[in-house]
Symmetry: C2
Subunit: 505 residues, 2 copies
Amino acid sequence: MSAKTKEQLNELYRNIREISILRSCESLLDWDERTYMPRNASEHRGNQMALLAGIAHERFVSPRIGELIGNLTNDGVKLADDTPDAANVREIKRVYEKAIKVPKSLVEELSRTIVLSQGAWQEARAKSDFNSFQTWMEKVVSLKRQVAEAVGYRKTPYDALLDDFEPGVTTEIITGVFAGLRNELVELIARIKDSGKAPDRGIIARNFAIERQEQFGKEAASAIGFDFASGRLDVTVHPFCTGIGPTDVRITTRYDENHFPQAFFGILHEAGHGIYEQGLPKEHYGIPCGDSVSLGIHESQSRMWENLVGRSRPFWQYFFPRAQAIFPEPLKGVSLEQFYFAVNDVRPSFIRVEADEATYNLHILLRFEIESAFFNGDLQIGDVPGIWRERFQKYFGITPKNDAAGCLQDVHWSAGLIGYFPTYTLGNLYAAQFFAKAKSDLGNIEQSFAAGDFKGLLGWLRENIHKHGQRYRAEELVKRVTSQPLSHKPLMEYLNGKFGELYGI
Amino acid sequence: MSAKTKEQLNELYRNIREISILRSCESLLDWDERTYMPRNASEHRGNQMALLAGIAHERFVSPRIGELIGNLTNDGVKLADDTPDAANVREIKRVYEKAIKVPKSLVEELSRTIVLSQGAWQEARAKSDFNSFQTWMEKVVSLKRQVAEAVGYRKTPYDALLDDFEPGVTTEIITGVFAGLRNELVELIARIKDSGKAPDRGIIARNFAIERQEQFGKEAASAIGFDFASGRLDVTVHPFCTGIGPTDVRITTRYDENHFPQAFFGILHEAGHGIYEQGLPKEHYGIPCGDSVSLGIHESQSRMWENLVGRSRPFWQYFFPRAQAIFPEPLKGVSLEQFYFAVNDVRPSFIRVEADEATYNLHILLRFEIESAFFNGDLQIGDVPGIWRERFQKYFGITPKNDAAGCLQDVHWSAGLIGYFPTYTLGNLYAAQFFAKAKSDLGNIEQSFAAGDFKGLLGWLRENIHKHGQRYRAEELVKRVTSQPLSHKPLMEYLNGKFGELYGI
């Protein structure tokens, strides 16, 4: 690399790092807003956030960044090379080119509209009245279509939206993988329903004191690898994980005194996100090779720790005696098997965020089918409630009694987050595919879990996924790590194996 | 005002407001660092703070700000006018002119030196070894002298430092007021010592459960006017108050289970600062007329609520029954008079931050005399320990056994905060002078306190002090509000009256 190339790379990195640090200040402001900010402080917080976002945006879309990218790609850095520098320039270029293509007036109209549309959605959901929301949803979709046209896409406008959350993944890829998943999932869930077996869910709905839930949740999060010296756990209505800095990763949860799984698996889930953030290479902080790949890969980390590890029998072989020591009253006379079955109860239900590990993906497939259809113009917004009910009956065997329990339940569409839903199931698919490979690489992984030792899996994730940052895009990462393209098979094998045994089917 | 003047004022205000909002982001980062930030996050927090501070500074010293100030003062805005606009321009001009006079290299050397010098001070204090700190202190003083020379001063270099914390107040003014105070204070303290009377301090050193201290502290802070919907209370090693926004004012305290006054009066003190911040005019947020006058005026608000109100008999006539209900065990059989005397114990001691209301000011006078002397070149740094011991004996009648309990006890000099100490006693002087006027204006103020009603005093402070922001400098504000120049007499009258009665002297 020439001295000039080196110098321009350094200038580019210095600029991008400063923008990342500015955005990390926004992240702290956002965390504070959701945790400890006084009630009356919202307006000023909005002014603070807008100012920082404005400065960061202005710095990012500056002509000098474009110039540096241009110079570097003309001279010295081949984007297809397998080096961190090539990956950094490739990713900065990708985001920069999208950012400068969207007119400022469109960005501003969209952000104004989204605030109002979310308000309209909240009212519509409360009254279960889709009609009052329809115009707003049409407006959001129309503005998002303008964004898609401005930035461009491979085959369908929906591809442009996917690219924001899962760069490189297209409607075509997802459609293919989801199709296989749908048929097998519908069949598994029907067989579970027909098995006539069900766990005693009362066990996990007894009284679990909140301070002890917190203590136990922190113990488990630490055991799987979340570092509390570089992070914290707080309480919020909507749990989340935020990486404020390379050694400042904060997770939140919400406790229900009479429902053990809510906080416990929520903490494992957010800790999974946090472990990924804490494992990103610190020397690349602030530039793409120090950043997470995509929402789907992020979700693969949270889902792996929450479900494939946290809802596994070996995990509870180790943790159930601890649980009994911490909650002697509610878990008196409960066996490991009863408890394990109770936290793995599968049954069709209407609300996505309350769904179990198996039915969850059907909720996502339904949303993907509907949103890709209406976004690409193959479905009228007014027809969404009808299609929703019809497909829900087909996939789950039940029909929601109203739109509040149906197509109005999620905030995403009102917030312009179209193209976001698929990343949840992509996360589950990646998780299963990575986990199968980790098991085959590591051998005795379940024996380690049963001894409370999660270092093997953690090390495997650090080495195969975390340390790369954005060096490889999701699609390529999956192929590199597992030697296979993304497929629905590992997830179905895992679900069939686990629930086949539990439900005797 | 011409349309052009109006336009330029608006541009100036818009810029200064944005800088204030940026600084308010720094305030949140700083609050978080001291309350909830994970242990390992310090380095990244340093990078965040440095970046925001750099952007704010760069924007402030920009030539455009200078141009706007120049245009406005040439044309349209007379700085001596009694209008908010005149005050805003006057104050922005004052700070701007100081900021551009100090070379960047000096600012950077000073901030590097201060970090190292504080480290050296910590070690020196631990070993009570002034010699190992002397060179660092000389270096800090020499750099601060360069700053003073760069920005200029009225009569002595020390005036330039005072101007950072208490704009407009000079060494000459302070020397005059402090001289009268010193003689009368030394005499009062000697008389108290000779009275042979002392309260039973054991009463307030019993076991006071921390959660109840918090509950009671919040109750009292709310009662005097701190708004918890626009603020919060947290725990830190070094208590402070920070105004993050016009409706986001946060205070902290530290609890000692076996020493009731620590947290309780600490909360009243910080709430006093917070009430001032919450009372500043929101329509002027981010510009001088929405900002506090000076450290001394700020301290007058905290000291008034902590001491003149919070340690008064009427206050405890109302709150002592509440205290007994909340702490039935430790306060069993204790009378109001015993309790009132115990929280007003006066006795000479070595450590400033542990001093009572009366002896506290002697600690400050001593520091002012010494720091103004060494800064103006009338005292060698090497002679500080000797002078300290000699004067301490003269004022307090006792001699510290080592420098850790003497001239090494405070962080200020190592941190370059020379000229800061006098603002503590100025705060007490302002507080007594304002309070005397409030009492004469409001009449039945003590009767209201005894009924738990503090709205009269709060309203008086809002109207006479808070609502002005920086419209008037401290010296003028005192004259406007009390019709008298600053004097030591109201403070001595208050102390003589209160302690004369308590100690029967």
